[in-house]
C-alpha cells in the first residue's frame, strides 16, 4: 500500500493580522499595484471559463493585462457552473431578517465543520454583497418581487433568507453574465480565447509557473503557451466517482498535473454528497442529475415507517410515513445541511426503508406544498425542475412524490492556496472549486457560485496584481518548456500504444464503483485499506489493457477520456490515503469509527484541526499540516437539532 511521510508544517503567510473585518481591506491596500502601461506587458493564462475562470479572465482583461483563456468546451459559456440551479448567497440583509456579513461568515465556518480558514471565509462573506451588485448591473435577471426588488429564499444550513436566484437556473444566468463580460474583452482584444483546448501540463521554470502545454482537441496539435502567471479555474474532481452531478467532461487533469509539478493538494478526501439527486436507473447510467436543494424549502422528505413497505406512495397514510429529517432535526427540519441530509437518507435506506428500484431512494413530496400554496404557485417556483424530473424518470412529481438519493456533487478539497489564492508554486493561482480554500469539510448550498465569483471578480484581480508587480519575468527557460511538452507527448504515446481490450469508460466506471463503495458517504479504516489495494491493481490493468482507438492527430474523444481516467487513478489513491489518515469525521468526511451516540459526525479537534496539504515526491506523498485557529467562531459540535 502507498506509504506517506510527514513533512514540515505549511502556513498561510498572506492573511493580515488584526480584526477580521479589516483584514481584506488591509491586504488590498498592501497589495502592490501595476501601472496601466505595464499591465499590457504582463501575460496571464486562465484555464477554465466557469464562474471563477470566466469572471477572472474578463476582469483581468478589463484591467489591461494580456490574457489567454482556455476551455475544453466549444464555447466558454458551457462550463459546468451553468448547471447550478438553486442560487447564490449574499449577506445583503434585504429581508431585515437578521443577516449580516458576520452571520454569513459564521454560518459558513460552522457549515464547513470548522475546517476552513476564518480569514478566507470572512472575506468571502464580505465580497458576497458586491457580487449581487455586479451581476444585477450586468443584466442577470434575478427573481424579483412585485415591488421591483430582488427576491430571496432560504437554503440548507441557514435560518435567514439570503439566497438570490433566477428560477432554477441561477448558475446559468450568472455564468452568462461572466461569459458576456468575457466576450466583450475578447472583442476588445485584451483576452485571446482558445476553445476546444485541453491543458495537459504546467510549465514550471526557475521555480515559477510560466505556462501550460495544451492539446488542440480538433487537430490534436500540442501547443506551448507561456506567461507571467497561470490561473487554474478548472473545477472539481467529483467525476473520480464516475457517477456524479458533474458534466461528463469535468476532470482533474489540470490540477493533478499542477500537483505533479509541485503544487500541494489540500484535503482531497472532502467530498460533498448532495442529498437530492435522481436515483440511478441502470448500469448504462452516464451521470446523475441534481434536483436543486431549494426543493427542500417546500418538499418534505420521507420514507415508510416499516421496512419493506412496497405500497405506492399515495397509498401510505400519514401515520405510516416517517418524515425523518423533521423528526430528527426539528430546528432545521428538511433544511439541514447537505452532509447531514445525505447520511440520513443512507441510514434509512440501510434500514431497508428506501423506496424505488433497489431500495436506494427516499421521497421528496410536494403534496402538502401543493395543498397549501396551490399547484400554480408550486409550478412558478419549481416548474422547470419538475419538468426535468419528469423527462428523466417518466414520473409526474405533481401527482406522485419525487424519488431522490444522494450523489457526488462537489469537492471541497483542491489545490492548496494561501490567502492570495496562490499555490506553493509561485505564480500559480487557483480559484473556484479547484482550490480548497473556503468551504472546509462541507460546503453550504448556494455558496459555490458565491465563491467562484468572489475569487474571479474581486479577490484574484487584486492579489494577482501584487505578484505581477514584480514582473514581467522575462524569457521562459526553453528547456523547461520542452520537457513539459515531452511529458505530454510521452503520455499520449503510451496511452495509444497499449491497444488492449477494455475501453477507458469501463475502467472509469470500475474505479468509480470502488470509490463510491469504499470512499463514499461512509468510510472506515477497513474500506479505505481495501480501496488502496484495489486502485493500484486496477491502474496496473488500465496501463496493460486499455484500448484507445484512433490517432493523436485528430479529434479523438477516446484519447481525451483515457488521459483523464489515468489522472483519476492517481487522485483516487491520494483521496483514500487522505481519508485514511484523517481518522475523525468532519462535514462530508464521515469515518464510521468517529461518531457520537446519535450517529452524528464526531470531530477530533485535538488531532485534526488542520488542513492536510499533500506534496507529491518521487518517494511518495508527504503530508504538510496547516493548523487552523478559530479566534471568532467558537469550535463546537455542529447541531441542527
Amino acid at each position: 500500500m502507498i506509504e506517506y511521510t510527514e513533512g514540515a508544517p505549511v502556513s498561510d503567510t498572506k492573511a493580515p493580522e488584526g480584526p477580521i473585518a479589516e483584514r481584506w481591506e488591509k491586504r488590498k491596500f498592501a497589495a502592490k499595484l501595476v501601472n496601466p502601461a505595464n499591465k499590457r506587458k504582463l501575460n496571464v493564462i486562465v484555464v477554465g471559463t466557469g464562474l471563477a475562470g470566466g469572471s477572472a479572465a474578463a476582469t483581468l482583461g478589463e484591467l489591461g493585462y494580456n490574457v489567454k483563456s482556455f476551455c475544453y468546451q466549444d464555447s466558454p459559456r458551457r462550463a459546468h457552473s451553468i448547471a447550478a440551479q438553486g442560487g447564490i448567497n449574499a449577506a445583503k440583509n434585504y429581508r431585515g431578517d437578521g443577516d449580516s456579513i458576520y452571520r454569513l461568515f459564521y454560518d459558513t465556518v460552522k457549515g464547513g465543520d470548522f475546517r476552513a480558514r476564518e480569514s478566507n471565509v470572512y472575506r468571502l462573506a464580505e465580497v458576497s454583497v458586491n457580487i449581487i451588485d455586479q451581476a444585477v448591473a450586468q443584466g442577470v435577471p434575478f427573481a424579483r418581487e412585485y415591488g421591483g426588488l430582488l427576491d430571496t429564499r432560504s437554503f440548507g444550513g441557514a435560518q435567514v433568507s439570503r439566497t438570490f436566484y433566477a428560477r432554477g437556473q441561477t448558475g446559468q444566468q450568472l455564468l452568462l453574465g461572466a461569459y458576456q463580460a468575457l466576450e466583450r474583452q475578447i472583442k476588445a482584444g485584451t483576452v485571446e480565447m482558445f476553445t476546444r483546448h485541453e491543458m495537459l501540463e504546467l510549465i514550471v521554470a526557475d521555480d515559477r509557473a510560466r505556462g501550460i502545454i495544451v492539446r488542440d482537441m480538433v487537430t490534436g496539435e500540442i501547443e506551448r503557451h507561456t506567461a507571467d502567471a497561470v490561473v487554474l479555474a478548472t473545477g472539481g474532481y467529483g467525476n473520480v466517482f464516475y457517477l456524479s452531478t458533474n458534466a461528463k467532461g469535468c476532470n482533474t487533469t489540470a490540477i493533478w498535473r499542477a500537483h505533479e509539478q509541485g503544487a500541494y493538494f489540500a484535503n482531497p478526501c472532502y467530498t460533498q454528497i448532495h442529498p437530492t439527486c435522481i436515483p440511478v436507473s441502470g448500469e448504462y447510467q452516464s451521470k446523475l442529475t441534481l434536483m436543486s436543494e431549494s426543493l427542500r424549502n417546500d418538499g418534505r422528505v420521507w420514507v415508510p415507517v416499516a421496512a419493506g413497505d412496497t405500497r405506492a406512495a399515495g397509498d401510505i397514510p400519514d401515520d405510516e410515513r416517517d418524515y425523518y429529517l423533521e423528526r430528527i432535526y426539528p430546528a432545521f427540519g428538511n433544511l439541514v445541511p447537505r452532509d447531514i441530509a445525505s447520511r440520513a437518507a443512507k441510514n434509512v435506506c440501510d434500514e431497508g426503508r428506501g423506496v424505488g428500484p433497489g431500495g436506494l431512494g427516499v421521497y421528496l413530496d410536494f403534496r402538502d406544498a401543493i395543498d397549501r400554496l396551490g399547484r400554480d404557485a408550486v409550478e412558478k417556483k419549481y416548474g422547470n425542475l419538475f419538468e426535468m424530473y419528469e423527462r428523466i424518470t417518466g414520473e409526474d412529481p405533481y401527482t406522485q412524490p419525487m424519488r431522490i438519493y444522494p450523489a457526488v456533487h462537489y469537492t471541497m478539497g483542491g489545490l492548496w492556496v494561501d490567502y492570495d489564492l496562490q499555490t506553493t508554486v509561485p505564480g500559480l493561482f487557483v480559484i473556484g472549486e479547484a482550490n480548497f480554500s473556503d468551504h472546509g469539510a462541507n460546503r453550504l448550498g448556494a455558496s459555490a457560485l458565491m465563491q467562484g465569483l468572489a475569487d474571479g471578480y474581486f479577490v484574484l484581480p487584486t492579489t494577482l496584481g501584487d505578484y505581477l508587480a514584480n514582473g514581467p519575468f522575462g524569457e521562459v527557460d526553453e528547456e523547461a518548456v520542452a520537457e513539459a511538452e515531452i511529458r505530454v507527448r510521452e503520455k499520449i504515446d503510451r496511452l495509444l500504444a497499449v491497444n488492449g481490450s477494455r475501453t477507458p469508460d469501463s475502467f472509469h466506471r470500475e474505479l468509480g464503483k470502488i470509490m463510491w463503495d469504499y470512499c463514499g458517504m461512509e468510510r472506515t479504516e477497513e474500506s479505505l485499506r481495501k480501496a488502496l489495494e484495489l486502485i493500484p491493481e486496477l491502474r496496473a490493468e488500465f496501463w496493460r489493457d486499455v484500448k484507445v482507438s484512433g490517432t493523436a492527430e485528430e479529434l479523438n474523444q477516446v484519447l481525451e477520456k483515457a488521459g483523464r481516467v489515468a489522472d483519476f487513478f492517481d487522485l483516487a489513491e491520494l483521496m483514500c490515503l487522505d481519508a485514511l489518515v484523517r481518522t475523525e469525521s468532519c462535514g462530508g468526511h464521515f469515518r464510521a469509527e468517529s461518531q457520537d451516540a446519535d450517529g452524528e459526525a464526531l470531530r477530533d479537534d485535538e488531532n485534526f484541526a488542520h488542513v492536510s496539504a499533500w506534496e507529491r515526491t518521487p518517494d511518495g506523498p508527504v503530508l504538510h499540516k496547516e493548523t487552523l485557529e478559530y479566534e471568532y467562531v467558537k469550535m463546537s459540535q455542529r447541531s441542527y437539532k
Partner: protein, 246 residues
C-alpha cells in the same frame, strides 16, 4: 429494445460524409439518447472502429453543448427537450433512427455530429453584454425592475446557445438566438444605454457570419429546448430598425 441507427459519419471538414448504419441492441427505455450512443460507441471502440463523435457535456439540458438532428427534427421530436434529455422510452422497438449534425453553412462540420458554433460567440462579442467592469456597480436595489419585465427578460435569457434554431430554420437563420439576447437585455433598465447599438452590432454580425434571414416560419421556436418565444424576433427587428433610423 433494438434499434437501427443511420448515422452521419464525416471524418473531417474536407470529407464528403455519408450515412452509416449501426445496430443498437438491448436498449433500455430508461436510457437517455446519449447513453444509447455511449453503448454503441463502447462496442465500436472494442471492434476497432472509430466511435461516433458527438458534443455533449452537462447532460442535464443546460450547457447547450449537445445537439443532433434526430429523424429530421433538431433535438428529436419531444418538444422543449435537448438531445441529452431525450429518453429512449419515446422510441419504439425496431425503429429506424436517423441521426445527423446541425446543417448550416455557418456551422461547418468538424467531425461526424460535431459542428463549429463559434459564430454564436462572435455574435455575442459584437454587443451581447452590458459594459460594466467589475467593481463599478451600484447597489443592486438602487434600480427596481418590474417583476413582469424581469420575468420576461428571464424567459429570453434562458437560451442555451445550442443552435437548434439555426438547424431547424429553412433559411439557416440565427434570428431566434440573436433576438433572445437582444430581448433579454432590452427589457431591463441595465440594458438601456447600449440597447440600440447592441441590436445593430449583433444583427450585423449575424449577417456577416452568413446566417440567413428570418421569414417567420417559426420552426426555430418549435424546436427550441427552452421555448424562446418567437416575438423576441419582433423586438430585435424593432430595435434594429430604430438603430438604423438614428
Amino acid at each position: 429494445m433494438n434499434l437501427t441507427l443511420r448515422v452521419w459519419r464525416q471524418s473531417g471538414p474536407d470529407d464528403a460524409g455519408r450515412m452509416v448504419t449501426y445496430r443498437a441492441e438491448d436498449v433500455s427505455p430508461d436510457m437517455s439518447f446519449l447513453e444509447m450512443l455511449d453503448v454503441v460507441n463502447e462496442r465500436l471502440i472494442l471492434e476497432g472502429d472509430d466511435p461516433i463523435a458527438f458534443d455533449h457535456d452537462c447532460r442535464e439540458g443546460i450547457c447547450g453543448m449537445c445537439g443532433m438532428v434526430i429523424n429530421g427534427v433538431a433535438h428529436g421530436e419531444q418538444r422543449a427537450t435537448t438531445t441529452c434529455q431525450l429518453h429512449m422510452r419515446h422510441f419504439e422497438d425496431g425503429a429506424v433512427v436517423t441521426i445527423e449534425p446541425w446543417r448550416a453553412a455557418p456551422f461547418p462540420v468538424i467531425k461526424d455530429l460535431v459542428v463549429d458554433r463559434s459564430a454564436f460567440d462572435r455574435i455575442v462579442q459584437a454587443g451581447g453584454f452590458v459594459s460594466v467592469p467589475a467593481g463599478s456597480a451600484p447597489d443592486a436595489h438602487s434600480v427596481p425592475v418590474r417583476k413582469e419585465d424581469a420575468d420576461a427578460a428571464f424567459d429570453a435569457a434562458t437560451c442555451i446557445g445550442c443552435g437548434a434554431c439555426v438547424a431547424a430554420c429553412p433559411n439557416g437563420s440565427a434570428s431566434l438566438f440573436t433576438a433572445a439576447k437582444i430581448t433579454h437585455l432590452a427589457l431591463l433598465p441595465q440594458g438601456q444605454p447600449e440597447r440600440l447599438s447592441r441590436a445593430k452590432a449583433m444583427v450585423d454580425q449575424m449577417d456577416a457570419e452568413g446566417f440567413g434571414g428570418c421569414t417567420n416560419t417559426g420552426e426555430c421556436t418549435a424546436v427550441c429546448p427552452k421555448g424562446i418565444p418567437l416575438d423576441t424576433i419582433a423586438q430585435m427587428n424593432s430595435d434594429y430598425l430604430k438603430a438604423n433610423a438614428k
